[in-house]
């Protein structure tokens, strides 16, 4: 069930990407999609009543949550940041050329 909530979050982002006509809204949609995927990956690796994967001196190693999804999600967060940064750079360059963030007014290409 908790997985499904995560998928709903994903769908909201997807909806924003597919229907919104504003460049910033599309970027927001992409961020939401990223968040949902990252959260899903971490949920997958969670163990009930688990401990964080950072060992401390003299403690027993038991019920530690899966460290692999955490490593993977770290990578994925960074990739998300990189993509967002490039998207914003292109968006403000588009604004400079067209004076708008609205996709309906930015239509030189036929599609």
């Amino acid at each position: 069930m908790i997985y499904f909530l995560c998928f709903i979050l994903f769908s909201i982002g997807l909806y924003s990407i597919l229907t919104k006509r504003n460049l910033i809204k599309i970027i927001i949609g992409i961020s939401i999609v990223d968040y949902a995927i990252n959260l899903f990956f971490i949920l997958v690796g969670y163990r009930m009543n688990g401990r964080s994967p950072i060992l401390e001196k003299g403690e027993e190693i038991e019920r530690i949550v899966d460290p692999l999804p955490q490593a993977v999600v770290l990578t994925s967060i960074v990739i998300g940041l990189a993509v967002t940064a490039l998207l914003v750079a292109i968006a403000i360059r588009i604004y400079e050329k067209y004076g708008t963030f609205d996709i309906n007014e930015i239509k030189e290409l036929k599609g």
Partner: protein
């Protein structure tokens, strides 16, 4: 075309608080970086925090002050050097037989200087990420100022 408001930065309150906190933020970033293999954190988080501290200076004091501390040429050099350093560490793995081998002595657990190349990799990533993100932000800000008609 230097905008007056930008060179002045924000109000006195913001400036004073920034002056007080900026050292702590920098220190925290370095701590996060160096203890990445023992406690939560690491090169990436540390790098972003350092970049944020410079961005903080920039927002509070205006871009000239921030660029005096770290200008674009240097951040560009730091960024590329960090990236090259990381791939050099990967190449050094050939000393241990294969690409990316953690060839150094692993040392005592829970100590600062342990875990072989992990600390070095963290520093390389830190340089790259910190300088790169600051560079990116500077580019975005400068572009905005010039882009307005």
């Amino acid at each position: 075309m230097i905008n007056n408001r930008d060179s002045q930065g924000m109000s006195v309150i913001v400036k004073t608080i920034t002056r007080l906190t900026i050292g702590l933020i920098l220190l925290y970033g370095v701590y996060i970086l160096l203890h990445g293999h023992i406690t939560p954190g690491g090169g990436f988080a540390g790098g972003v925090i350092i970049a944020l501290s410079f961005i903080h200076i920039m927002l509070a004091f205006g871009k000239n002050v921030a660029l005096e501390k770290l200008n674009q040429t240097w951040s560009k050099i730091f960024e590329s050097t960090g990236a090259l350093l990381f791939i050099t560490i990967a190449f050094l793995g050939f000393f241990g037989g294969v690409f990316f081998n953690n060839f150094l002595d692993k040392g005592e657990h829970f100590e600062l200087f342990s875990a072989g190349t992990i600390l070095l990799s963290n520093i390389a990533i830190f340089l790259k990420v910190g300088a790169g993100l600051f560079l990116l932000f500077v580019a975005l800000v400068l572009f905005k100022i010039g882009g307005r008609k």
